[in-house]
């Protein structure tokens, strides 16, 4: 019935089969009489079409004129559904009752999720929410999110911001914790680590070093004036610093490799509990690694119900032999990673060099990395009170 099928199904339609010498003439008479016909097809030598149930009687005189025989072969739509429903009252009552129960239950909150907490425990936030009237099973209509936000933030002073929102039957409490900024006490500025001074910027106090000086960790760089209440030293001392790291890379190593065989299982994640759905329950591999994908993996594992695809990859152990050059490359990469992890984000890496030694008797390459950086090494060392 094409694009009009929704309309026809909504209001109800009868499927009519016409047998006769000239069905085309019958259809022309239908059209000229204003009887809606649609979805005209040829089926087993006869013509079938759809029309409205209450216009079917009007077909009879037209059929007589054209010596055709119309016959109802199908009924569809709400019109007939209602007629059927009247005969199956128990089924209709059950469907209506279940719909009612579902509708009623959808008006309650059945899961509470907390996001953004780090130091404040989830249980503590949930307890504060419970005190404010938010708990599993509470009707959404009686929940005031503004009141819950205000109540939680009042009960837990460590929180700086709370926002509660309701998504379907899930209440989401998003929080941000307060960040403590302890007041800095006045003092001298001392070197945080050894370095070669490149520049000195004094905002307050007397500089004790100049560009080109070598300083050790703990040396006073800018001295303050303890006799004045605002005499604490302030400023920046940029210096070249050096970071060192060393490691050993074996020239022969046993490593895991994927064989290419894998097994996939589907798991149902219900608030962090994983229940098997499909796939093999026993893992046929002795050595394997696991990769999870699908809903709920990127979110908090305790948020909602989701299906996870867990893939087990079979592993085998292979002996890897490295040439000294390969080992050096690997050592350089690993050392750079180690050094970069040591550096604070504000520190600029200027140069990185590596020294290698091979111990053939032990079958290892020993590498030492030296990184040169530039950074502000001045930190306040408060005066004793």
């Amino acid at each position: 019935m094409g694009a009009a099928s929704f309309f026809w199904n909504l209001i109800g339609a009868v499927k009519v089969r016409v047998r006769g010498p000239n069905p085309a003439r019958f259809l022309n008479l239908c059209v000229s009489s204003g009887i809606p016909v649609s979805g005209i097809r040829e089926e087993d030598g006869d013509v079938t079409f759809y029309t409205l149930p209450w216009r079917y009687r009007e077909l009879r005189p037209l059929a007589f004129k054209t010596r055709s025989k119309p016959e109802v072969i199908g009924r569809s739509g709400v019109w007939f559904l209602w007629s059927k429903a009247r005969k199956r009252q128990a089924l209709v009552a059950t469907v209506l009752a279940l719909s009612g129960v579902f509708y009623y239950l959808s008006g309650s909150i059945w899961a509470i999720d907390v996001r953004g907490n780090n130091r404040v425990s989830r249980e503590r936030i949930l307890a504060a929410a419970l005190k404010a009237g938010l708990y599993k099973g509470v009707r959404k209509a009686v929940v005031s999110t503004e009141f819950i936000d205000a109540s939680i933030i009042r009960d837990i002073p460590e929180l700086g911001w709370v926002y509660t929102s309701i998504h379907g039957t899930v209440a989401l409490i998003e929080v941000r914790e307060k960040v403590d900024h302890p007041l800095e006490r006045p003092g001298d500025m001392v070197a945080r680590r050894d370095g070669l001074v490149k520049s000195v910027l004094v905002l307050s106090g007397h500089p004790l070093v100049k560009a080109g000086d070598t300083v050790k960790a703990g040396d006073i760089l800018i001295a303050g004036d303890p006799s004045s209440p605002s005499g604490g030293a302030r400023g920046e001392v940029v210096a070249s610093t050096w970071y060192k790291a060393s490691l050993e890379v074996p020239l022969r190593e046993i490593q895991p490799r994927r064989t290419g065989r894998k097994v996939e299982v589907r798991l149902l994640n219900v608030e962090g509990n994983l229940l098997p759905l499909f796939g093999s329950k026993a893992i046929p591999f002795q050595w394997y690694e696991i990769e999870d994908s699908g809903g709920g993996v990127r979110q908090s594992p305790k948020t909602t119900i989701s299906v996870i695809t867990r893939t087990y990859y079979e592993l085998t152990w292979v002996e890897v032999e490295r040439s000294p050059a390969e080992a050096e490359d690997l050592a350089r990469k690993r050392l750079e990673d180690i050094v970069r992890r040591q550096l604070p984000p504000s520190v600029k890496l200027i140069d990185f060099s590596i020294e290698v030694k091979i111990a053939p008797d032990r079958g290892v390459l020993t590498a030492t990395g030296l990184a040169q950086a530039e950074e502000n090494i001045a930190v306040v060392k408060p005066w004793p009170q």
Partner: protein, 92 residues
Amino acid sequence: MRSRTKEIYRAMAESLGLPVDLALDLPRVIVVGAVQVIILNHRGLIQYSKTKLVAGVGGGQVVVDGEDLEIQEIGPEDMAVKGVIRSVHMET
């Protein structure tokens, strides 16, 4: 005489910039790819089967050949036919 009147109508429609099909009560046939044919200004169904549909129009017949033809909608002036359309031609 009749064809002369038509010629005059056609000339007038063309000089006035009017659509000729409206002025002369001619059919308009729209073919949508090979899946649908819409016939406007028809004069009734003459023949219909799965493989052939003939509709009367002013000045002849429009014949649609194809497979699995179905008349989606039909009204006093227009009809939409869908299916695998092989050919559409006019017989006068």
